[in-house]
């Protein structure tokens, strides 16, 4: 997805409501779908997406048009979802204790190659893994954010992002195998 026009962001920063509406119409579907894939429930996803945009409006003055607006937006959405997870008592810790033996993400690692027959299998397997794993996989593979962006987005160290990705793929593989 391309970035929104910088002029719109500059106007939104000055609390221009039309500019905010432009941001809303540009990102609403993407944010709703992102949240939906994290929470796996349509009504909750709608409520959380609405809350995300209300928070965006409340923090418009902190937009930096020269920085990555999309990452900032997804950060807010992720925080909204994680606050909701915490309220529901879902296990969501972002940090993990660094394990020197834990592997790091490598794109073409043979041992974690996934054979996915149907996208439905993938969706169901994603629903069975931990939320943080679901989040990093979604951000990295679906939304196309790189390591550094995910680091900023989740406010966790780079190594933790890589470890999460590695473990997320392993967990996804196990979930797919169990499913089949």
């Amino acid at each position: 997805m391309e970035e929104i026009d910088e002029k719109i962001l500059a106007a939104a920063k000055n609390k221009n409501f039309k500019a905010f509406e432009a941001i809303l119409s540009y990102y609403e579907k993407a944010i709703f779908n992102y949240i939906f894939r994290l929470v796996n429930h349509k009504q909750d996803a709608e409520d959380l997406a609405q809350e995300t945009f209300i928070k965006v409006y409340a923090h418009l003055d902190s937009i930096n048009p020269e920085k990555n607006f999309r990452a900032w937006l997804y950060k807010i959405a992720t925080n909204v979802v994680y606050d909701w997870f915490r309220k529901k008592g879902v296990h969501t810790e972002l940090f993990i204790i660094d394990d020197p033996l834990a592997g790091f993400e490598t794109i073409d690692e043979e041992s974690t190659y996934l054979k996915i027959e149907r996208t439905q299998d993938l969706l169901e397997a994603l629903g069975r893994i931990r939320p943080i794993y679901r989040t990093v996989l979604e951000l990295f593979y679906h939304q196309g954010f790189n390591y550094e962006e995910i680091t900023q987005l989740l406010a966790i160290p780079l190594n933790t992002v890589k470890t999460h990705l590695f473990r997320a793929k392993k967990a996804l593989k196990q979930a797919l195998e169990r499913g089949s």
Binding site: L24, F32, I54, K169
Partner: protein, 129 residues
């Protein structure tokens, strides 16, 4: 694993719920006018207290309370209604009564909006922003 990106992209997009944008804008309306809304509510509540107090004092002075007590102690529905009709025009001051009723309706409306506002802007009992 390099197929994962492609598989993710094959996941069908969920359709955006109907009126999503309108709902966001409606919630934002409450957020934007939250302060004005709270001031307005406080004024409406003050108005209710003043008109209510005025009515109470007025009713006490004119003996309406003892009249109502009399009606209830010797209860007859037709007598009660006739009494109310007659006494209402003579004793009840119209302006504060109308003000009181209007304030009451206004505050009921405000309470309804407040419940929606609370859902939107309060988080764990604190104002979110």
């Amino acid at each position: 694993m390099d197929n994962l990106s492609e598989k993710f992209k094959e996941i069908p997009e969920e359709k955006l719920p109907a009126n999503f944008r309108r709902r966001v804008k409606r919630k934002l309306f409450f957020v934007r006018f939250k302060v004005s809304f709270l001031v307005f509510s406080a004024l409406a509540f003050a108005g209710l207290l003043v008109s209510g107090w005025y009515l109470w004092v007025g009713a006490g002075e004119m003996g309406t309370i003892s009249f109502i007590n009399l009606v209830f102690s010797d209860y007859q529905i037709s007598g009660f209604l006739n009494g109310i009709t007659d006494m209402a025009t003579d004793f009840i001051p119209i302006v504060p009564t109308v003000a009181f009723l209007l304030d009451l309706i206004l505050l009921a409306f405000v309470a309804k909006i407040f419940l929606a506002l609370k859902k939107i802007t309060f988080n764990n009992g604190r104002l979110s922003f």
